[in-house]
Symmetry: C2
Subunit: 133 residues, 2 copies
DNA sequence: GTTTTTGCAAAATGTTTGCATTGTA
DNA sequence: TACAATGCAAACATTTTGCAAAAAC
């Protein structure tokens, strides 16, 4: 009986990882499914969900809650922040560089042991900004 | 034909608002429903969801995505941030005071017209911190 | 051969909606 | 009486799970 889960890089998982690494638009699971099916037409939705969860659990992807109902995924696992368009949902990676003293202050004030943070800016993306709604 | 929606303060809506104003733990819609039912046993779930949406739309409450599946609600509508416990989900209001220049920098770098932000710290709450898991 | 993974369908969540009924100005 | 609000159930969207068949070691 194995304690560690066997993590095979099956063709399906490779396809999911490839799609994620080739995307910079923070796709939802459904987006990933659609894109994966272009090269692997028979893949099931559950397989994609499972693959995404595995990638997140193993630190190869991040799961983001950018405001809509569906979670979005990011193959960029380095610490970074996001800007999200409130009109079309477009999201971009940014690095705000939050001053470390802020976390310290929050810890003091709240009594929490602060271990991380999540920062999201909202606004209009370049396209929507110049769009005569 | 009225353009403005008629916004009556029905007993049900008052009960939802009262529960929210009397809570500091950022309850989910289900939590609110449970609490409202203590004083208004017959209230339906849809009514609570509709009331919460109305309060959010009219600026009397905030809808928060603190990490779990369910949205959480906050009657504190002043600009503020949150710390969330990764173990038990407890959430507290804090004010980190994000330097305004960060938003400016993000706008420059991304090309977005930045209008707001959402900052959430994660960690262990005082109770979980001292709990011998 | 045993164990993992897949694909499908069903179930589980959280939330919204259709609609007949009730309440109220 | 007209129109908004309620309560219920059904619909919805997203994600997870059970399970038999297929694939991999």
């Amino acid at each position: 009986m194995t304690v560690e889960a066997d993590r095979r890089l099956t063709p399906q998982r490779r396809a999911v990882l490839d799609v994620l690494r080739g995307s910079t638009d923070h796709p939802t699971a459904q987006d990933v499914l659609d894109r994966v099916r272009r090269t692997a037409p028979g893949i099931g939705a559950a397989t994609v969900y499972r693959a995404l969860n595995m990638l997140v659990a193993s630190g190869q992807a991040l799961e983001l809650a950018l405001g809509d109902a569906a979670a979005r995924y990011d193959a960029n696992t380095a610490r970074h922040d996001h800007v999200v368009c409130t009109r079309c949902g477009a999201a971009a990676d940014v690095d705000a560089g939050l001053p470390p003293r802020l976390a310290n202050r929050v810890a003091e004030v709240s009594g929490f042991a602060v271990t991380g943070h999540d920062l999201k800016f909202t606004g209009l993306c370049p396209a929507c900004k110049s769009d005569p709604l």
